[in-house]
Amino acid sequence: MLKNVYNWIDERLDITPIWRDVADHEVPEHVNPAHHFSAFVYCFGGLTFFITVIQILSGMFLTMYYVPDIINAYNSVEYLQTQVAFGQIVRGMHHWGASLVIVMMFLHTMRVFFTGSYKAPREMNWVVGMLIFFVMLGLGLTGYLLPWDNKAYFATKVTLEIANSVPWLGPIIKELLQGGTIVGAETLTRFFAIHVFFLPAVLLALLVGHFIMIRRQGISGPL
């Protein structure tokens, strides 16, 4: 049945080469944990991506209940966590995933570093990876304010004070991020927009670049 549907579409659109090109590629022996168990270190990139997918999915679902408004943000988070079925789980995925994605990214970076995979011709992918790293930190930072509880509020105050300490430009950066002179309504909407629209868009673009380069250059060789 499914096969017939696939064949029907394939006859018309010739989609087989498209997914073949994406999915059909060799996994060299030295990166296959079934051959050398220590090759599991090559999984960290994939795991980072897997958790990123969970972050994006669970984040999209959280916005069904979340409101970026100083009166209602806390209440909406409390409501979705305590009243809505599986709310604790969906928020839990996003909450713990946010930390785990940083851990995985760090391990992935370690692997790339110690296998020397950043060397020519892969320098550009190291740079893109670093950009992804900063975007991830930005997502963690802006997301942290969203529950609008005490921890969120003061963590954001601290971050903004750090931004404030940049020579010359500090005060301008701070006010720009803050959206005004206090951490308040406009800070919350700003962080929400950055967290949910701007940074995910940048992240996806960078990931596409990262993956295209990997397909072009292949996995780096054995040590």
């Binding site: 669970s58 209940y65 209602n72 209440n75 909406s76 599986f86 969906v90 995925m93």
Partner: protein, 181 residues
């Protein structure tokens, strides 16, 4: 995939031979099954989370004390009353309006002013051309004092569930009109 050299030999002994699963098929099914199971573990909580409002028990509307029965006349009068409304995490007070009258049989009739055409608010005696009728300013729907639709609207005005206790009128949920039709 290895071909089974014993095929012909075995077939002569027990003819209706079971179709065996190839190693590749087995791996496809187990890996596919395990992947589907794990994917479901991620996706199902999110879906259940998303549809939760549909599955919540709808709470029964409580009756609200509105006005003394003795104030009610044959002529419809407008009364406002307040209702606590829980909307997710947002608790608010909604103000509702009822047009209440007593008909010739002494029945209390509390009508909702929401026009059954497209939802504007009707008023009693609000148009000089149509005395002693409910009239809707939007597209000219008209109704009798009991709410029967005379023009434009396809259905009679809805009613509030009504009860009288110790001389007071209590109003409940909005239900389809039972007095006319």
């Amino acid at each position: 995939m290895s071909s089974n050299h014993n095929d012909e030999h075995e077939e002569s002994h027990n003819p209706p031979r079971r179709k065996e699963m190839s190693r590749r098929q087995f791996l496809t099914y187990t890996l596919g099954g395990a992947t589907a199971y794990m994917a479901a573990g991620v996706v199902l909580p999110m879906l259940r989370f998303a549809v939760d409002p549909i599955l919540q028990n709808k709470e029964e509307g409580a009756f609200v004390k509105v006005v003394e029965e003795s104030k009610i006349t044959n002529e419809p009068q407008e009364f406002h009353f307040e209702l606590q409304q829980q909307d997710g995490w947002y608790n608010s007070t909604a103000t509702l309006t009822a047009w209440i009258r007593k008909n010739d049989q002494g029945e209390i009739i509390a009508l909702s002013p929401i026009c059954k055409h497209l939802g504007c608010l009707v008023g009693w005696n609000s148009n000089k051309n149509f005395p002693d009728e409910y009239h809707c300013p939007c597209h000219g729907a008209r109704y009798t004092p009991d709410g029967k639709n005379l023009a434009v609207a396809p259905k009679p005005l809805d009613q509030y569930e009504t009860k009288v206790e110790n001389g007071w009128i209590y109003l409940g949920e909005i239900v389809p009109n039972t007095v006319v039709s």
